[in-house]
């Protein structure tokens, strides 16, 4: 069987093709084609080998949904909502995005996903338990649907107050709209995610409506193109929750694709770490403009809490992997602000003009320039020599910065690296120490073009003992696409107190959700034995507004097993917040079912055939590192061609390992070893 992963990013399209029988792996990186991303995808496949067009299975990470939202380029969307609530999307939570500002932009007003003229109200009202207070006036729904159609609206969002307790009105309205205006793209708020907080739920639905047509059209177009090129592969789309979905599902719920790209990176990091027997991982993907961070524990990949996720200034309620993005990359600009403070990022020099050393007109110092000054990057070895850079321009930019700070060029360069590492370390702390995880028990999995260069320093500042650098750091995300399963998250409100649990109802609801999930997976073509179902409950102390997710035993719940759930909740509360209130009544707010359907995965592939230590050695050069007791010290560092290092090879720092798509730094006192997977383990 031939599997392919295609990660279409903003700059590059990465493709990996794996033959599960011969275990042959081919990778390719081609420029992305933003006008029509399918072009780059097909090109990437084609250039990965003669027969790579004959893949059986294609997993795809896409930025279509994300870009549509970030660039505010989506469908003309209309809304049908409860009479009296036309402006929920506009008033939002009435909180300014900035505390101290007159001139700020307010995304939900200045970049409204649905303009007021297209927000229509109809008579209906549900109560807080889902009871019908005012029945739905069906004629009104048909009328406003016609008005929206006449106004040129292409996508219609239906969002009613309290629909999270009872989706019937929304579903009825959907059928009426589909009758009156069959071409419309329809989203209902409760079908996407039935959670309380109307502004957030309606906005999530509005995002789905806004990005929906782009995603749907892209998928249709991609399928068409694949057909023309003779690619018959089954297509699966990477979703923000770390699972993949079929085209049909993705086209219906495109808002679930918002973190398609970064999620694949976290999955890859998890896969690589697990392959070497590590279960506590910090995945760290650093590129030109930003770094994405994810956390993996023995429970799996950490998920974002609903309500903590904002994209382009809008809240998103959908379950997602907790990917934390920091504006820190090779292109991050270092500068002095008007108050005299020294800063690095989040502004990036991007690909153009890029770092000063690219010689494309950039004069500001960047992280890449600082690494050149410190000798950590080789000017003659950019992208394996495919690109030339001018170190003298890096020197000039950094020395300008240094003279304004009263620092030598070298000290200024070290400062740039220290600050960018610090920004990333802070982000990682917010996801580890602040969540009760001790970084000393974790392994950092570093990839992306710039990750391996910064990883060892970063690990040291966090007290993380070791770093794994994958075989192909530059295309790791694409590999992540081949390490996942189909995954569906189902949720049902319960609102039960620990003192008065209705076990029968819980068991009934779990059964119903299980059946729903199994049916979906069956439609996706997953065999019965490839289905895995996990149960959980969202709990909080009565009165709190935020829940913690507690794993629940599979199968029938008993009064004994539910007791353990409460204990576990108290424990989780303590772990998460450093404090618990045992004895206070607990409320079970939702039950959740996570269903996964097994998909073919990347086999364990042998590392690329390598040469020997001798063949790997390139030479020696001076590299600067922080000295004990402050200041900088020049070290003679060995430079190696990584692809020539055989399994089991050991390198002691200071050393620099070069490869086409990345550079790995092994600082003094650290050592690196090539694992049997071909990945590199650095003990810092």
């Amino acid at each position: 069987m031939k599997l392919a992963g295609a990660d279409v990013g903003g700059t590059f399209t990465d493709v990996i093709v794996v033959d599960t029988d011969s275990k042959a792996v081919r990778i390719h990186k081609v420029p992305s084609t933003p006008e029509d991303p399918s072009e780059g995808l097909i090109e990437g496949l084609r250039s990965a080998g003669d027969d790579s067009m004959r893949v059986d299975f294609l997993a795809h990470g896409t930025t279509i949904a994300t870009n549509s939202l970030l660039q505010y380029d989506g469908a003309q969307v209309g809304m049908i909502t409860t009479r009296g609530y036309r402006d929920i999307l506009h008033i939002a939570r009435h909180q300014r995005p900035l505390h101290y500002s007159i001139q700020m932009e307010v995304p939900w007003q200045d970049r409204a996903l649905i303009r007021r003229r297209n927000r229509k109200v109809v008579t209906e009202r549900l109560g807080p338990k889902g009871e019908v207070i005012t029945p739905l006036e069906e004629e009104e729904v048909a009328n406003v649907a016609r008005e929206l159609k006449d106004a040129g609206v292409e996508s219609i969002v239906i969002g009613f107050i309290n629909s999270y307790r009872n989706p019937e009105h929304e579903e009825r309205a959907r059928s009426i709209v589909e009758e009156v205006y069959p071409e419309a793209f329809v989203t209902t708020s409760a079908s996407l995610f039935p959670q309380f907080r109307e502004y957030e739920r309606f906005t999530t639905a509005a995002i789905n409506g806004f990005v929906g047509l782009k995603v749907r059209n892209y998928l249709v177009h991609l399928r068409e193109r694949m057909r023309k090129e003779g690619v018959k592969a089954e297509l699966r789309l990477m979703r923000s929750n770390g699972g993949v979905a079929t085209e049909e599902f993705a086209a219906r719920y495109p808002a679930t694709l918002l973190l398609s790209g970064p999620a694949a990176g976290v999955l890859a990091g998890a896969h690589i770490g697990n392959a070497s027997g590590r279960t506590k991982l910090i995945t760290f993907d650093m590129g030109g403009t930003s770094a994405d961070i994810g956390i993996v524990t023995p429970h799996g990949i950490a998920e974002a809490t609903a309500r903590d996720t904002w994209i382009a200034g809008y809240p998103v309620l959908i379950p997602m992997i907790d990917v934390y993005t920091v504006g820190a990359g090779g292109g991050s600009v270092a500068y002095i602000d008007p108050g005299g403070a020294f800063r690095v990022g989040p502004r990036s020099a991007g690909a153009r003009p890029g770092p000063a050393s690219y010689g494309l007109g950039g004069t500001e110092a960047t992280v890449t320039d600082a690494n050149l000054v410190l000798g950590r990057l080789r000017a003659d070895h950019f992208l394996g020599g495919a690109m030339t850079v001018k170190p003298e321009l890096a020197d000039k930019a950094i020395s300008n910065l240094g003279s304004r700070l009263g620092l030598s060029t070298l000290d200024a360069a070290a400062g740039v690296v220290t600050l960018v590492n610090h920004n990333m370390a802070n982000a990682i702390r917010s996801r580890t120490i602040q969540k009760g995880h001790d970084p000393r028990q974790f392994t950092l999995v570093a990839f992306g073009g710039a990750g391996p260069l910064h990883a060892a320093d970063l690990a040291r500042s966090l007290d993380v003992p070791e770093v794994i650098v994958p075989v192909y750091p530059g295309i790791t995300s694409a590999m992540g696409l081949l390490s996942t399963d189909l995954k569906y998250d189902l949720i049902q409100n319960e609102f039960m107190l620990d003192g008065e649990v209705d076990l029968d109802r819980l068991n009934r609801d779990f059964k119903r959700l299980d059946a729903e999930a199994r049916a979906q997976l069956k439609r996706d073509g997953v065999a019965e034995d490839g289905v895995q179902i996990l149960h959980a409950a969202d709990c909080r102390y009565v009165g709190q507004g935020y829940e913690l997710r507690v794993p629940m035993p599979a199968g029938e719940l008993t009064s004994e097993s539910i007791k353990r759930v409460w204990d576990e909740f108290n424990g989780l509360h303590k772990e998460e917040y450093g404090h618990a209130f045992p004895g206070n009544p607990i409320e079970l707010v939702n039950i959740r079912v996570v269903a996964t359907g097994h998909l073919p995965k990347m086999p364990e592939v042998p590392p690329p055939s390598a040469g020997s230590m001798k063949a790997a050695q390139i030479g020696e050069a001076e590299v600067y590192f922080a000295a004990n007791g402050g200041g900088l010290k020049a070290h003679k560092a060995n430079f190696y061609e990584r692809s020539q290092l055989p399994v089991g090879a050991r390198v002691t720092g200071p050393a620099v390992l070069l490869q086409v798509d990345s550079t790995t730094l092994v600082p003094p006192g650290a050592s690196a070893e090539v694992l049997k997977t071909g990945d590199l383990l650095i003990r810092v």
Binding site: H99, I102, Q103, I161, E198, E200, P338, G545
Partner: protein, 613 residues
């Protein structure tokens, strides 16, 4: 703070001095980032652990770390300025009381404090303070504040207690009490609270969450000291405060020296027969002198000794001024990140007559001071408008806070609802619609959350239309919020802006006043902007109508396309487009008649010029 003369009080701070130890710019930035993330963690965990919607949904809380001198070194980016800003003032109040009593901080202590005459913002904003010890030595304080649902005032809830006759009628006064002493819980204090506070399970639960959150902050600060050493951290925080001071001073220096003033009015008690209780004057005179700015409130109306609208000088008035100046001069949208710490306020002096609304004397009541503080903020912005026209907004709309309550099975339920105001038009931008006021930044509570927990139903929540101040950039639209009672309930309300509309700026028109209407059996009863203790029956609706912001610039210069957009969005009518903006929109085709518009606008400007002559 130094007290300058018997009749007026002055709030001013010493300029910063260089840190005792040289600190390199890289370490300073590293420590700044670490401090911010500690404060964020404290606030984040407080919202997650707390019980009442006023904290977890509305984010009416604050969290900060202070150094041993009580200077704020960082604050939580969540939450609201009106809780964050006062924290150093709370701390100074605690210091003062401790000194008077000869008390001292010990490891394991937790101090509860809410006295508005000792730096607290007002009684319901209860502060908890954990002194931080490292290696047995006091090194700083971890502090949280939060608005509590009830503190045992004369009527249920902690807003709308407008008729409180003095500080004692406002509820429990905590004057720097140790609720934990050397790690041991002071049960009597907690029992006292449980016995005297309504809905005490919720309130005390929130207080426990505040204590737990403070302790996290303390622990993280100790870890930071261990990592970098106390000398280095002290030097960095000193430098960060100096940095913020420098940034603010630079901005003040860039303004032309001189005196600028403006006047504003609060409604006061519109239905009170005593004229001294209505339409009180707020007067602001700004003096720019090099790198220092003095904000003088002399001329502001005398305090109303037996009503609760007096503003604590330290805790409310100072914060209204600091937040407004920061928002105008170091606007986060247009400026580099500047840490919010005690350095920022060093270039600012504040003066007010003792015994005035802006500087009341004990025991005058202060619990309902919120809306008056908005007028201080708005008046200050208008005073500055002539010297920084491109950085201010036209008149800002005030908001309302309402306490709802009832008794079920001999237990109280209390719910507090915060509505919103709107911004005035801004240079280059319309005013923000339906948003919190300038010196606070809370959130509304989701309708679905309210309905799931209380016998209340929000039956309407929409923008108010065709009422915002016309302008080249129009004022923001306020909201209309209808609360329908599902059973007999009690309510108290505080608001303002029923008698004085937000002002227009630079040729923009004034906005519109707000309203409160009680709808019962189809009858509409218009109520004043403040009332305490009214009953409502099942089915009654209380409708709160926000004022709308003032316009900025001549409406005849507004882009006709924007006028048309407002017509299409049903924000203004075709009639207003014509009479206010001189834009002729065909009511059928909904398109602009450009020729007719040009003609009408020319005629209207001519008329305006003639009017002026």
């Amino acid at each position: 703070m130094a007290i300058a003369a018997p009749q007026v009080d002055v709030i001013e701070y010493e300029p910063g001095s260089p840190p005792a130890k040289e600190i390199d710019p890289i370490t300073a930035r590293v420590i700044a980032g670490a401090l911010d993330s500690i404060a964020l963690e404290v606030g984040h965990k407080l919202t997650r652990m707390s019980y009442s919607s006023i904290i977890r949904e509305s984010e009416d809380f604050g969290a900060a770390l202070l150094d041993v001198k009580g200077r704020q070194i960082c604050e939580c980016a969540l939450s609201t300025p009106l809780q964050l800003g006062p924290i150093p003032g709370y701390m100074q109040g605690v210091f003062r009381l401790f000194k008077e009593r000869g008390d001292r901080f010990e490891e394991g202590d937790v101090i509860i404090h809410n006295s508005p005459y000792h730096g607290a913002s007002h009684g319901p904003d209860v502060g908890f303070c954990v002194p931080i010890f490292a290696r047995g030595e006091l090194v700083g304080f971890s502090f949280t504040t939060a608005h509590h649902l009830d503190i045992g005032s004369m009527s249920p809830g902690s807003c709308g207690i407008v008729d409180a006759v003095d500080a004692y009628a406002e509820g429990l006064q905590f004057k720097a009490l140790k609720c934990y002493e050397r790690g041991r819980k002071n049960d009597a204090v907690w029992r006292m609270m449980r016995d005297n506070i309504r809905a005490s399970d919720m309130v005390v639960g929130d207080m426990e969450a505040q204590v737990a959150a403070c302790q996290i902050g303390a622990q993280r600060y100790v870890e930071l000291l261990e990592q970098y050493g106390r000398e280095t951290v002290d030097a960095a925080t000193e430098e960060l405060m100096n940095y913020s001071e420098r940034m603010m001073r630079q901005q003040i220096e860039a303004l032309p020296d001189g005196q600028y003033s403006a006047e504003g009015h609060i409604d006061g008690f519109a239905d009170d027969p005593d004229p001294s209780k209505r339409d009180q004057l707020i007067k602001v005179t700004v003096t720019v002198d090099g790198g220092t700015m003095t904000v003088d409130l002399t001329g502001t109306a005398p305090q109303v000794a037996d009503r609760a609208i007096n503003m604590p000088f330290v805790g409310t008035v100072d914060i209204a001024i600091y937040v407004t100046l920061r928002s105008i001069l170091l606007d986060q949208a247009t400026h580099e990140y500047v840490p919010q710490n005690s350095g920022l306020v060093r270039p600012i002096r504040i003066v007010a007559e003792r015994g005035s609304l802006a500087n009341p004397t004990f025991p005058s009541a202060t619990i309902a001071r919120f809306c008056a503080g908005n007028i201080v903020a708005d008046t200050l912005m208008r005073a500055l408008a002539p010297i920084c026209p491109d950085r201010v907004a036209a008149g800002m709309a005030n908001m309302k806070v309402i306490a709802y309550s009832g008794v079920v099975d001999q237990m109280y339920w209390v719910y507090m609802d915060i509505t919103e105001g709107a911004y005035g038009g801004r240079f280059g931008k319309d005013g923000v619609d339906a948003v919190d006021v300038l010196y606070a930044n809370t959130r509304n509570n989701p309708i679905e959350d309210i309905e799931a927990h209380y016998p209340l139903r929000i039956s309407r929540y929409e923008l108010r239309t065709d009422k915002s101040g016309a302008g080249k950039w129009r004022g923001g639209n306020g909201s209309i919020r209808d609360m329908q009672f599902q059973g007999r309930a009690h309510m108290s309300l505080e608001g303002d802006g029923h008698r004085h509309a937000p002002r227009g700026a630079f040729g923009g028109y004034d906005g519109t006043t707000g309203d409160v209407v009680l709808i019962s059996d189809g009858n509409e009863l218009h109520l004043p902007s403040k009332f305490q203790s009214r009953w409502a029956e099942a089915g009654d609706i209380i409708r709160t109508v926000s004022p709308c912001g003032g316009g900025y610039g001549d409406p005849l210069e507004r882009d006709p396309q924007k006028v048309l957009d407002d017509v299409l969005d049903e924000i203004i009518g075709v009639e207003s487009a014509r009479t206010l903006y001189g834009v002729v929109v065909d009511p059928e085709s909904k398109t602009i008649n450009h020729a007719a518009t040009q003609e009408l606008r020319a005629a209207m400007s001519k008329q305006a010029v003639a009017g002026k002559a």
